[in-house]
């Protein structure tokens, strides 16, 4: 039996996220709130990659101002972001760690004011870019990644 080929159609406007660490695509789906948007999303898990062995790829068809990609830098800044418009890749951007992230992750410190104050934004500040450390703006508790 020959090798099967998985074809995922081209998108005319949106994003192709490449070089996602294998298994991380569902996390990105959640952080980008894609479940709340009506756009077409293709998730390819464990695709073969010369560079990474295996990787995930995501294709998101939507207007390019729909999604805030800053959060991607926080999740995995090695992801390659291809921005597609009129069927062409118009920009290939590499990600950096955002200096501040707002309402993406929550402070887990039960002694933090964010645990009781109504409608207070959850804000994390990048305090050590080398070690990729984010701390809560209010209590300075370090965010521990899973």
């Amino acid at each position: 039996m020959g090798k099967s080929v998985l074809n995922v159609g081209r998108i005319s406007e949106g994003f192709v996220l490449d070089h996602i660490q294998a298994g991380k695509s569902m996390e990105i789906y959640k952080y980008l709130n894609l479940d709340k948007l009506d756009c077409t999303v293709a998730i390819i898990k464990n695709a073969r990659s010369a560079k990474m062995g295996v990787k995930d790829i995501m294709k998101i068809e939507c207007p390019i101002d729909y999604i805030d990609l800053d959060v991607l830098g926080f999740i995995d800044h090695n992801i390659t972001v291809n921005i597609v418009k009129d069927d062409k890749v118009v920009e290939k951007s590499t990600l950096t760690l955002p200096k501040e992230i707002r309402n993406i992750i929550k402070c887990k410190n039960p002694r933090c004011i964010t645990s009781i104050e109504q409608e207070l934004d959850q804000v994390f500040i990048l305090t050590d870019p080398r070690k990729e450390v984010y701390r809560c703006k209010y209590c300075e508790e370090k965010y521990k990644r899973k």
């Binding site: 410190n109 933090c112 209590c139 300075e140």
Partner: protein, 305 residues
Amino acid sequence: MRHLMSPLDFSVEELDGLLDLASDIEKNPAKYAHACDGKVLATLFYEPSTRTRLSFESAMIHLGGQVLGFSNAASSSASKGESVSDTIRMVSCYADICAMRHPKEGAPMVATAVSSIPVINAGDGGHQHPTQTLTDLMTIRSLKGRLGNLTIGLCGDLKFGRTVHSLIKALVRYDNIKFVCISPEELKLPDYIREDVLDANGQTYEEVERLEDVIGDLDLLYMTRVQKERFFNEEDYVRLKDFYILDKKKMKLAGPDMLVLHPLPRVNEISVEVDNDPRAAYFKQVQYGVYVRMALILTLLEVNV
């Protein structure tokens, strides 16, 4: 308009200016007795505190100002579920400056986002207590004449003691400081203070378990309380608790100029027999706390005398 959230909000130069002002207040109290006539300090204390609240109130009264506020959450609108943001908006209409203590970490910072008056963090949970640090710095500078070239022993609970963490952060900015961290294994400095503050600043420090072994080398001994509840088993507590009771016998091993500081309240970690030793500076520290809070109120209210 400025607030004070962390002792590091002031640069070294600004801190020098603040401590100079506090020293001038100490020498010439009459000059400042009416500096804040007509001004009101609100003390918003969501958890009980004897020394800090009274120190702030004493500071404002000695400047000629007036004080209003509450001393626990139960007697405030917080008991009805009012947010910190709403409370400070309301208090901004009643007072010119406020000092806030709150059990939740970061609460005073939330207040600064909407406040139209300067906010002073008077302690937020286990996070920051900047006016204690200013008090410690004022005491050291007044009694030692300098904030650099010091060997400083930090003794007791170095893991959970926020006053120790804040003091370390403030002192690493000065030249030729050496820290000697004296604590049981269970209560050593947390990693983030060692890595992010001490190592990151190339700071010299050593960690030891016995006070007697190092007390003779110290210019300053900063005592804190070892709390029984921090230990996992009773045996360790019993083994270590007496290491850290400072008494006359241990003071004999110390140099003639070594100062003893303590953020207070003490329980039994400094024996009362040490109180009359001229090197015991912990009650003088309380007095310096009033001067430095007076200087802070004047600075934040931008009152020039």
